[in-house]
Subunit: 228 residues, 8 copies
């Protein structure tokens, strides 16, 4: 099932001189797995929706992906089997860079429920912390507003992603979280290079799967590098 | 200047069945740099003393090293020149594993004042957090007491390491912090292997120099991987 | 005295595709006690209004009940006599399930002022905590909005329920708190079953009257099961 | 392996008029499981030692039991198989009351690692909270000091219970935690009866296995009955 | 100088059935002192405006009074002389009850700057705490909204009351704070009587001047009756 | 039953120049009530022991009194009848000043369990707060140490005062709390007069029974005079 | 490049009697340095924009100045060379008073990146704390609203000031921060004089460059004058 | 009245190699004022004792001075007249440097009660914060222990300094606080010079009287230089 959603509303009147992002996004809903013949290219934006934030309790429900072309692929997983070889192949593919915003959570979820180690990865939250030193607001909504000029709705963020049928509002919300990560990454990479922090960011991305594994194994509340 | 210090007092009467660590340690004081002909072997315990905990304010004063044979080499550095090529060579030597307890601080100090990247490293504090899950006490004093059976004195921990002449109490304290790290590492490696966490610990050690660089570059108060 | 209140306004424009709940509710006001011949069926939603939240100080003023048919029965109690045998009979009836939202408070109030033990009970707040793991918002307003699609007004929540004459706003507010609990319970039961937590929820409901008694007897600030 | 430990030292000089508890305890160490022919009677004190406090990370290592006759049986479990049918039978035996101090933790550990539901249970910490209203100190050490007149050492509380060989200090510590629970329960039962709280305590004990299950299933940080 | 201000706007649309308080208030501005021939009757509402909240630093600037007839008398004091015998006479008059909202502050200010002990007094904040147990909102704005049905503006609360010329907004704000205290007191007295707390409230009012003196003498941060 | 206890040990070696308080105290234990013919004079030190600190849960168990002559009268009350007319007469006698340390608690207990209003009263804790401005330590132990030169033991403070038989340690502890209040009051009165705060202290003492009543009626957690 | 910005919108309808500040401001953008022939007079308002708030990490990007005539000069600096002799001359000129709001930050930035000590200075935040004792809101937005009657927008406060091209919104925001400081200072000086605090304020301004140097040298988190 | 006190006990066994400070101090007690003919030289250590820490409530009682020769002059002031011209002359003498530890408090007390501005001053607490960056312990006891090798007793710190007769313990305590400040200053000056912070420290000392005046005038809780 695929459909075209309304264009994003550009809601900040102070930024009227910018060019509005007018293209329609297309949302593709896949039940159980990605299609086997779908090629999302070398850089894929990824996000997921779950029953909650606790790894040892809350199931993985939905995974969203986008190649950065304005389309979003929303995969509704069948739990507890999680039989989705195509999705797992993309996540584990060493030649495909996965773009996340706060990937720590998703990567741990994927390892826990899908049994795959997600590598290589890029995290726009970490990149934002290293590049956007002029603010302490690094949520997806803030980052996308400033760097992509798009206002995301978060109304469906906490909803029942384990329901038998997902509502259009849920699907649109899920899709929107991956649509802009490519643009955001481009902007952040420019800033990181300008400030001389590209290498530092890459080293953090490389450690991210380890950090996710620490979460899964019981150190989710600890900063393992902290003094106390 | 070298001398023999008194044997460590084993102060816990409840542990009377353990074998007391009786050997005398020998402390070697070096002014300015390590001797050029000193070979400390492939695994060197390292610690340092500074004017304080702030990288951008407090100078590095003393570096202590031990090969694990009961001798400690205490190097009193000449600031602000820090002309100590032999010491720097050991720290940067990719074939010499440097053992620290909370190496994050020392590594950042070495990068900041000596201009060297310290690699490869092992941190007994991180190892303790991963292995000794039954406690939240991972200070050097706690770890050495339990794993090496030795009671360290911390009386000189906060003293004037920038003084023209260091007191015998300061030198003994400085030396004692590196004497037992080899034993502690052996015990922790056994526990990590038993619990299946060797690989996880290694991945954390590998990231430690990056974490130290983040400290130096202005993220010392932030857990870069945290959600907020 | 009975009257028809206005239909609930469905105030979330983003959910325009849902079917609006159009039926009028009818509010029945009873002075002192329920009518003796009123049969509310095997599952009764119950709520109460008081002079405040302190059991040993604040009187019980109003009890509201609904059989789930859209009608609400609001009983204005005569304090301090609380001579209301019909109401007490319903609360203590072992064959009538009482639905509450945060029943812990009401059950304690009923034991304290009416001298009845309310059993069996169902608490939509506890059920929500066990089923809606994707959120930490389990207030009645939040639960009813998501699960019944109705926006409750809380404007009269803190008002003088001990007044000689209750205002229409107070009566409407009181009635609205019991009208939707049947629908909410249905939704939560479906979710609990889906996640395999039906038995766990039932065990918590069974303990609820004990928890209320602990409140009355002086452990209102303590989690009796906590470590500290 | 069994041996006699030293009598407990009664260390409070202010209580010199009390009768010192002089009997020697005998500690029996069992590898892997309880002996099949050991009958511990209808009321068994139980405690356990683990690799830490996190259910989803830390293994169960040791279970201690006592029939209240001054002997302690310390079972060192073989993980991860946990093949100990005799121990499991005692824990699950509906005709044997298990005495714990803060049983919530042990019961969850047993369900998680041994796969048994421990019932019926009695918890001296809960009983102490309900009876000893004159204090907020309900740790085992405090309760045993006041009600059994014995001073427990807690020096080995945080030690490596997963070690291949447990030290005599560890075994003595483990044994001491179950030796006095029968006496403590007697004293607490007298006080609960005097204050009219026997029934209330029993209702709390009955809920304890549910509370432990909530811990295991992901609500370990929540008071499920709390308002927020 | 006197003038008529606009009628209060009744801004809560939900309360449309209530009767709007339409009468105009008249504000009388007095420079330096009350007129000598003004008789405000046996019950006078009083409030004051100052340079801040610290008794030992911030001057008293304005005192407002009302007899409850809809008129407000605003006295702009000349500091540091505070030569205002008529005002002082009213405050100290044992036959005139002074109505305050949080009188503790004003009474201390009057003692500090005017040298008078204000007695007898009534405090609508204390009365509200004792009567309106169903809320924890006892600010003047909250109390006046609920009990007098009037919405007060607080926009000028923090403004420069020591200015040479007070703005119309400041004068209107100052006046509005005393206009409704008589009505509020009537409502609160009814509630206190209904709940049997009239005597308790009176005892608190009687202590209020002592509490104000404790503030002045250096115990402003302490609850003198607290355990710690 | 009466007996002589050991003289108080003066345990501060730094104060060796002070004269040791050598007189023996005599403790009189009365079951149920004071003797009818006991005259304790116009100023009586009073303290009590309870099952805990919650008025609505914890029973009053023991009341201690002293006329200041070195004797202590310990009354063990029979609950729940509390049939003790002689004790109640002393407490309610308007011609007998009752000395307390933190009398707020005892006065509320007496009103709650004995049904008497205790007046007039003097509180050494309040007096200490007003006179000893050079410290924030106003516990009985601190006040008695400094002003009476006696070191009180607090070891029995939290013990089972509801037990059938009180231990000698409990009785000695209970007695010691009233033995020194007369001396302490004399010292504090001298200091209050020197600092000009006698009247302020008296006004606080007069309010104390009201403050106790507020505790009983449900405002135990609130400072009724606070802004928030 | 210079242009005229829109007049400031006066957005507070309650202040309709004040005269609207209608004059257009003119913004002059200078790349790299101030023009050599620009004379800003004896009192210059100064503000700056940076990559963040950490002196040892975040670069200085923009400095804004105004002589108080309604024009703003925005200097976009070339980092890391910071070759701007004209700007440095103004900052270091002992005959030019620099007006800041929270100058502590800017002065430290100038010393760190430009190598100049900025003297003499005036800080409207410190002056506001000393004069406006009736409020705790001393942000630039609050101060300018009350004292200049102008509503500043803070929307661009956290934006990428290191970008190659600054947006018109950024330039307008930067300019607006210096336009009103002369008016604000006049108002504050009047209030300081009225309250007798002119000398105290001047002494604080004189210390401000020292306070900035303490920030740079590592005491940025400490109040050097605090007890702890 | 003068007498010789016992030599200071050197209580740290670890420092046995240091030379014990054996000289006897002589304490001179002066009633009301310093003798007119006493010349304490160009650098005088000063401390004071008060009725407490609140400037607007607690009286100044005792001032201690020492020229650094081992003698201490303790002046017991007559309040409230504070007629002590000789003492005031020393404090205000621009040619006599006054050494304090946390002089902020004493300077404010002197201005408040004696009406003198104390200048010039040196504060060993501020100097310690700037020099001893390796610790956060800057209390007099800590500083004197490390830098003078003397262990001060703090037992009389909180005692009744307003008493008619001061005890020998109080006098000895008061005297000891000024005996070692000259030595401490010498050590700190050496460290400040070594670290290049002499000028910074002097600028802080110069501001100290202003900081004290801010305390007196109502900003005692505020860091006037803080952002918030």
């Amino acid at each position: 099932m695929s459909w075209d959603a309304a264009p994003f509303v550009y809601d900040d009147p102070d930024k009227a001189h910018r060019i509005l992002y007018e293209a329609l996004m297309t949302v593709h809903l896949h039940e159980g797995d990605l299609p086997g013949d779908l090629d999302l290219g070398p850089v894929v934006a990824v996000d997921s929706e779950t029953m909650g934030l606790r790894h040892n309790r809350d199931d993985l429900c939905v995974v969203q992906l986008s190649s950065g072309d304005g389309d979003a692929h929303v995969v509704r997983l069948k739990r507890p089997a999680y039989d989705c070889p195509n999705l797992k192949r993309v996540l584990a593919d060493g030649n495909v860079l996965k773009l996340f915003h706060f990937g720590r959570f998703d990567i741990a979820m994927f390892e826990n429920h899908l049994g795959v180690e997600t590598r290589p990865v890029y995290c726009t939250k970490i990149a934002s912390k290293l590049a956007r030193t002029y603010t302490d607001r690094h949520g997806l909504k803030d980052v996308v507003r400033e760097l992509a000029g798009v206002e995301l709705s978060k109304a469906q963020q906490s909803s029942d992603w384990g329901a038998e049928v997902l509502s259009p509002e849920q699907l649109t919300y899920a899709a929107s979280d991956v649509l802009h990560l490519h643009v955001v990454r481009d902007r952040l990479d420019t800033m990181l290079a300008r400030e001389g922090r590209t290498e530092l960011a890459q080293a953090c991305f490389d450690f991210l799967p380890v950090r996710a594994r620490l979460d899964l194994q019981g150190w989710e509340d600890a900063d393992i590098f902290a003094h106390t």
